[in-house]
């Protein structure tokens, strides 16, 4: 499902300032970073209501204090194998902008939330084309930090490109 977008990707501004605070989380063997400004809150795994006619990576919808929001399993979204939830599995509620100016909330299930880190502009390197299963279109850059390399995720693009509904 990612392939169709490869053509649409505009050349990313190479000099974009990527420094700032990131929330890091674990997915499989890799560590990712999410811009902290996009994160609304972190909650556990709530009881979801399954929605028919949706893709396998859509867990369903939850009630977030009176609002109905969709929840996406990021593992399945990136084609990683399914894994049983454990006590560390978390839902990160992100707020993403849309082309029409509306903002949308979405829950993203990850294996484990780590910490909030500060990234300096110099820490970030452009995305090399390397062999992760993940399309590089969704990567803002790679941050080399003491704790290891974090993949800085372009969550707006991940959400915008996700075809939640099938059939």
């Amino acid at each position: 499902m990612e392939t169709k977008d490869a053509n649409q990707v505009e050349p990313r501004e190479q000099n974009r300032q990527l420094g700032g605070k990131y929330l890091t989380f674990q997915l499989g063997e890799e560590q990712f970073g999410l811009e902290i400004l996009k994160v609304r809150e972190i909650i556990g795994v709530l009881d979801v209501t399954k929605v028919p006619q949706t893709a396998a990576f859509v867990r369903g919808v939850i009630n977030l204090r009176g609002k109905v929001i969709p929840v996406m399993d990021l593992r399945l979204r990136f084609g990683l194998p399914w894994r049983e939830d454990d006590e560390r599995t978390c839902t990160i509620v992100v707020e993403v902008g849309e082309a029409d100016g509306h903002r949308r909330l979405m829950g993203i299930v990850v294996d484990q939330v780590r910490e909030v880190v500060s990234v300096r502009d110099d820490d970030v390197e452009n995305t090399p084309s390397f062999g992760v299963e993940l399309d590089t279109a969704y990567i803002l850059g790679m941050a080399k930090l003491e704790g290891g390399v974090k993949i800085l995720l372009d969550i707006d693009r991940v959400v915008a490109d996700s075809q939640l509904v099938i059939g």
Binding site: V51, P52, Q53, V61, G66, K67, M106, S162
Partner: protein, 753 residues
Amino acid sequence: MNDQDLILGSLLDDLAAEAMVLEPGDLMTYGDILSRLEQLLVVADGLGAGPLTQLLGGLKSIMEGLILGQIPDQAQGVAGLTEGVALAQSLLRGESGEHELGLYLAAQGLAEGAPASAPAPPPATDEVAAATMAETAPEASSEPAAPPESSEGETFADEDEELLMGFVTESLEHLQSIEVNILLLEDTPDDQETLAAVFRPFHTIKGVSGFLNLQDINHLSHALENLLDQARSGRLVVAGEAIDVILAGVDQLRQMILEAQAAFREKRPRRAFSTKALEDRIEAVLSGEAVAPAAPPPPRLGEVLVEKGLVEPEAVEEALAEQRERPDKPLGEILLSQGAAGPSEVAEGLKAQRAMAQGARQVQAQEVKIDTVKLDNLLDMVGELVIAQSMVAANPKVQAINDRKLAADLSQLARITTELQKSTMAMRMVPIKQTFQKMVRVVRDTAKKQGKAVRLLLEGETTEIDRNMVEKFYEPLVHMVRNSVDHGIESVEERLAAGKPEEGTVTLAAYHKGGNVCIEIRDDGKGLNRQKIVAKAIERGLISGDEGLSDEEAFHLIFEPGFSTAEVITDISGRGVGMDVVKRTMEELRGKIEIRSLEGQGTTFTIALPLTLAIIDGMVVEAAGERFILPTVAVVESLRPRREEYSTVQGRGEMIMIRGNLLPLIRLHEVVNDGHERPEPWDTLVVVVEHHGQRRCLLVDRLIGRQEVVIKSLGESLKDVKVVAGGAIMGDGRVGLILDVEGVFKAHENRRA
């Protein structure tokens, strides 16, 4: 009909809805309609629908002619357009063919596909002046008093955005209030307060537009302000032509302001308007050329006294005769001296007179503007509070505490939360007043065009209605009100011949009844003619005969698609487009229409709408481990079928025999899930659901109960899930899905295909 025809049909319906409320000269709507036509052309072209494409092409050129001012008679152009739209609908239904199309195109002068561009005589002067755009009136600068049009070609700077947007919203509100007040002024022309209420907004618009360098808007509002200033100082009576000029001015200002907004959004230069024609008319009014005889300030004391039954009409006549001789003496005094009325009666009459004059004046409601997002958030949170409260109260550990104080506090908490929920729900409601008041203008304009005398009475204006509903319901209401004036009320001669008062009355009433909001459109006109309706319906092939048809059922035939379209082609008023569109909109709003009519005495349409669109009465069912909500309106019954009532067609299509009818069985498990579970129908339950006259059996695991739920959107990313209409927060705080019955039927059909 296949899917594409359906899409085409619904696009056409939308177009018809817009066309039916189109006013000649309304440039904004012209533009809308043109883009709808273009959209339709693309769809129709893709289908290879020859005649329809030809017709739409013709309509498009009419529209272009209207916009460019090439069609001299705007009203006729609009009539031609609505007729064409009706023809398009009937073409699509296959009720008309090439022959009708040929006739229509020929009548519109479109036979060769050439745009109707006969050399245009100047537009009639009483036409809404908006049609006179800058290029058609180059003489604007010849007027010495008016500075040259300098606004053409200007663009707005980005930093003006906030100012401009603020100006647009505010001005549009001002214009609306002017419209309402000016019509009040028609009844009480010398009421200073109402005059001021009309004057002030013009003054504000003038000031801000000058600041924003919107020259033409500034000029026009200045001229109008002048006119009203004269009225305020008593040198001019606002009546007749003055009112028409002000209303025309309001229309043009609205268009200029909307154009400014559109220009800013599209980052293009603003189109300048010529205000010369209007300014000339204002000048004419001011110089007294066009001043209509000053209307006497109604209501008059004598009338009030007679109406209240306090004084005999003859006594008033007598007193008035005396007053003519001694004009400086008040009527009340004469009546007293003649002994026709006691002081208390006169006092009561005076009080009533004053109340009438004041009651008409718009009372400024105390209100605060709130961002709808904030309001929705509040509603969400209150909903959660109710759930949290009930969860605490239902907690077994809390219930085990044997404490009177706690029990009392908990029930107090429950009361408060319920009350809070009610108040927040009430915030979505707005009084129907504003919508009703817009109808005053509609009635006035329509009656004027037809040369009829019609007065509009409003009842129950304070009745509240869901804000979202008001918008959807506006166009159909305009249509129905217009229909009442147009077809309901007779001409003055006919009325006099029938022994009725010269002036017809249309009453708009709103009230609450049994959990519904009812809106009545009542006229004292000629009533519906059952024979004619039935005859026309038979002619159109809608029914074969009228045996066993009640009056109400016969009247409802006017809502059938294809009924009013037949009329439009013969009807000179050319306004017959789609009562079926009215009905469809009401159905979308989950409303019902009732018709009562007595020949010679009038017709009453009663529309019953639900109180709010936000809440749905639902049947909660369980299937595949999830709860689903079915709208109760769609549920016919639920039952557990017997084994022998179940049958299959070729081993696949499952059917249930219910009282002699074979109904297809839909397994909800298959629709919402992979359908691994295959419970036997006789072990579980089926719910019979109906949609658009089609019935299906829905196999579910369990029926949980009936419940009113607040509808929540699943959001942009899940809007394409066709089988689900929305979500609802259930009592345990989880989300339940509201099923879309049509979507479920479709999903089932696709599965079998």
